[in-house]
Symmetry: C2
Subunit: 552 residues, 2 copies
């Protein structure tokens, strides 16, 4: 790569993705939201239209020793680079960017070139009391990239974009991939060997291999290929204390898993520079859509498939609210359109729950699985809507984040949160979380719709993914959302369920995470951090709350 | 349980298992070994025939505060209990027991009753400088239970036999099991719900749930159900610093995995008291045996099955040496017998490699898998020997360890070691390890046979399990074996392969393990240990070498 070119300039600076992609949610959705009492304000939420006009704090000086370790050509201090590395993509981040006032930003961006340079930077930063925030694709939705307010020392955003190596073992079907490769770059590189990563989270177009590992990412086809944390067979992490390369060949009885200690560490221990992972043959794919009578019967079907070890690679079941919004969408993110309404009317079905079922495998591999799934869903009262809406979903599977921009433009806030629950508690958890969220909306003067889907299933339980679309609330969009999210986290802690299924901890969940992990576990993690990061420079306040070992 | 009854008295004190089970290897094997130049000495290796006659060091005094924390009824200090808790089941352990002189033994045995009592014991032991060696089923083959020589303080063997709770969630198909349950006890408890653990290592009859977790065990059907470390969804570990209960619901993006930090910790961090694990429906099973032309063609078939995600629950492929010994065995551990020889003769095949293929699943579930496997193995030149020898294998699957007693009785030493390798290096690794082992035998004046099988496969590689049968060597059986094992470990380190696939680290692999895990990783593990075990009392010298944080 050419280090003199500022990276990450191919995306909207104020939000998600390619600036040329349309973000309008479409007339039918607007109408539906209006019908449901969500007051649409076509002037939208505040938006400063130029990155030059965004206010960020003046940069602190980076000590020369740190700049020298990075190499002058690999350091960016321009306004645009600092703004672009100041946030991720959470609702709070987007509202902050749109407001034109970004309260904290890194003082410089260092482009990571290789492990040796990164180690030199971390060693110098440890001596010079400079904090380091590792930056992959910038898609964190949990505050993982945010410079903490009140920090009294320089902060560097260490962008892994220069780590782009690719080595493939086509016989063992593994690849050693540079942490800075974005999803499509990694995919293209391994496709040349007839292989796929099989990892396609909604953030895939921009998120990086290192980010997937650092946050325990789960892709849309995780039922088929596993979560990203399950695909990883080894990795290198550069810590201030030196390089940790996990022991080669993970199928072993060799003590506690150092691999699983680094996976999910979100930059608090070091910078993941290389990831070795399992790959799979490029599959034949087919996606079909079913309409189940209700959420409960759909859940029961997914449980049966998961427990029979007969889960299609993709299974995505929407509750009724999400289904009605999906059906209203005729654009790239919709599965249906008016023709489908007519079809359903003719079958006497005006509501229900959409289920996307995606098969990925070698030709013929899924034949018996498909027929079993068809009988199961048919017996549960499902109507097979066929492959056309399924393929429409597949084409639009990375489009979701764009819609958030469109909804913000309508003056609505939209955010997601996710957890997982055992099957025996699944429906109760769904109801409790939904009730708690709706009650919090009401308390905060917000009118909203709460959508939910199940998209990652396991023999013992499944994920719950909620999307909230609502009016901004009386206290303003940021404060109102923080209040609602706080109520959600309390409910999850009360139910003893994860505070995240695949978005991670970041800074937004750090306090709740500390309550999930009891004191003994938290102290053990802190001890690990002190060992690899004695000066406490790595990603202060991310994963472990600021009260733990971080730069004072 | 009744604490006044000494536990673990239903086994041979000098070796494996039920004293009433026959250990003779049979005339055909004796003859074959003789033919191959292994000099059989029917007087066998030394054996003291009475536990009373075994010499152990005098017991150090256990401080009163520790005894009080345990509860007087839960402390055993009698000679038999001390001998029975002094070793595991490694070759070195067995030879030591047979010699009648056991150089180190615990000073007392504490029967673990529940988490609160164990915490009280660990707290008192931390204050009083008493070392604790957690003891599950006593089946360690890596020195995990051995009191280190020269330790200057009292040592307690903490036997988890009292931890026998069972709670099952039949909907989510998970169970919370007491760590002290032996394999059959756990299995019987969950069978009542129509479920199975799916975990059947060769040590199953005596090893415990806690031991499986502490050592990253892998069962014979791990292809179908996963390794034990993959089945675990949560656990409680009592550390000197307090109880660590891992966060509920493991399918989450909640930071580094505390679960995988405790799994494999081999008692160095604390005592695992409860394990929550996935369960599966009790399957229909069928086992068939095939004969492949050679090891390489069999390996290629297993790789294809693993990479197609079409692995039968059990796949066990023996190399030619192991095959010839297996075919010679007509007793409970043999798959064949004379009738089979005749059959093979008639088919014009006098050698080859046996493959056991076991299907476990719901009725009908494996139909298409079976037919695919049959075609694959047939195309590779395999001959299907049918279900009768397969069922014979299944009946005798836990009998292997008894044969070791029989071989020791013939004056031969026998031991196993295992590793794993990527598919791209598998055959080369097999040849290198075999060559290195045979060269070490020769250097040490030992005449031996080296058997190998592949029994655990993954999409990216598989295990290699070696069994050595040899004459004792000029320096005596223990010293000679230690020299050979040292050469094996050097070869594994040279090949950059695991020092164990499923036996664990214990004390015997601790130094080699420290070389596998680089300095940064070792320091991180040591930091974790210092955090949970500040006084360094937990299993000194096990997992981490004595030079790391242990009682000084």
């Amino acid at each position: 790569m050419n280090p003199t070119i500022s990276p990450r300039t191919d995306t909207r600076w104020w939000g998600w993705g390619d600036p040329d992609v349309e973000t309008d949610v479409g007339a039918r959705v607007r109408e539906l939201l209006n019908l449901r009492g969500l007051e649409i304000d076509p002037s939208g939420l505040d938006q400063v239209r130029s990155i030059e006009a965004v206010a960020i704090p003046e940069a602190k000086r980076i000590p020369d020793a740190v700049l020298a370790a990075a190499g002058a050509d690999w350091v960016l201090t321009d306004h645009d680079s600092r703004v672009r590395h100041a946030t991720g993509q959470s609702l709070e981040d987007l509202l902050t960017l749109r407001s034109g006032v970004v309260p904290t930003a890194p003082d410089a961006v260092v482009i990571g070139r290789d492990g040796a340079q990164i180690l030199a930077v971390l060693e110098a930063a440890s001596r010079e009391r400079v904090a380091i925030i590792p930056y992959g694709g910038g898609t964190s939705v949990t505050g993982g990239l945010k410079v903490p307010e009140g920090i009294d020392r320089p902060v560097i955003s260490l962008d892994t974009i220069g780590l782009d190596g690719v080595e493939v073992d086509p016989i063992s079907r593994t690849g050693r991939l540079g942490a800075g490769l974005r999803g499509p770059e990694a995919e293209e590189a391994v496709n040349r060997f007839g292989l796929t990563t099989g990892h396609f989270p909604q953030s895939w177009e921009y998120a990086t291999i290192g980010g997937f590992a650092a946050t325990r990412s789960a892709g849309q086809a995780s039922n088929g290929y596993g979560r990203f944390d399950e695909m990883i067979t080894g990795l290198d992490v550069v810590t201030p204390d030196g390089v940790l390369r996990t022991p080669r060949v993970e199928h072993a009885a060799e003590g506690p898993s150092l691999l699983d200690l680094v996976i999910g560490s979100e930059g608090a221990f070091g910078v993941i520079t290389e990831v070795e992972m399992r790959l799979a043959p490029i599959p034949d794919t087919s996606y079909v859509v079913w309409l189940l009578p209700d959420f409960e019967s759909g859940i029961d079907c997914v449980m049966k498939m998961a427990q029979r070890d007969a889960l299609p690679a993709v299974v995505r079941l929407s509750d009724r609210t999400e289904t009605s919004l999906n059906l209203a969408m005729s654009g790239p993110a919709g599965v249906a359109g008016a023709a489908l309404d007519a079809y359903l009317g003719a079958r006497g079905r005006s509501d229900g729950c959409l289920m996307i079922v995606g098969y990925e495998g070698e030709p013929g591999e899924n034949a018996s699985g498909k027929s079993d799934t068809n009988s199961l869903l048919g017996r549960a009262g499902g109507i097979r809507l066929g492959a056309r809406p399924g393929e429409a979903w597949a084409r639009s599977r990375f489009h979701g984040p764009y819609l958030r921009e469109g909804l913000l433009d309508l003056g609505l806030v939209v955010e997601t949160f996710e957890t997982a629950a055992p099957w025996s508690e699944y429906v109760d958890a769904y109801v409790s979380i939904r009730d708690a969220t709706l009650a919090a909306l009401e308390r905060n003067g917000m009118a909203g719709e709460l959508l939910c889907h199940l998209s990652h299933a396991y023999p013992d339980g499944a994920s719950l993914y909620f999307t909230l679309v609502s009016t901004p609330g009386a206290r303003g969009p940021v404060e109102s959302w923080i209040a609602v999210k706080g109520a959600v986290l309390e409910e999850l802690l009360e139910l003893d369920l994860p505070v995240s299924h695949h978005h991670g901890i970041g800074r937004d969940h750090a306090a709740a995470y500390a309550r999930r992990v009891d004191q003994v576990g938290l102290e053990a993690l802190d001890a690990t951090k002190r060992s690899v990061d004695p000066a406490g420079i790595m990603n202060p306040g991310c994963l472990l709350p600021m009260s733990f070992h971080h730069t004072p």
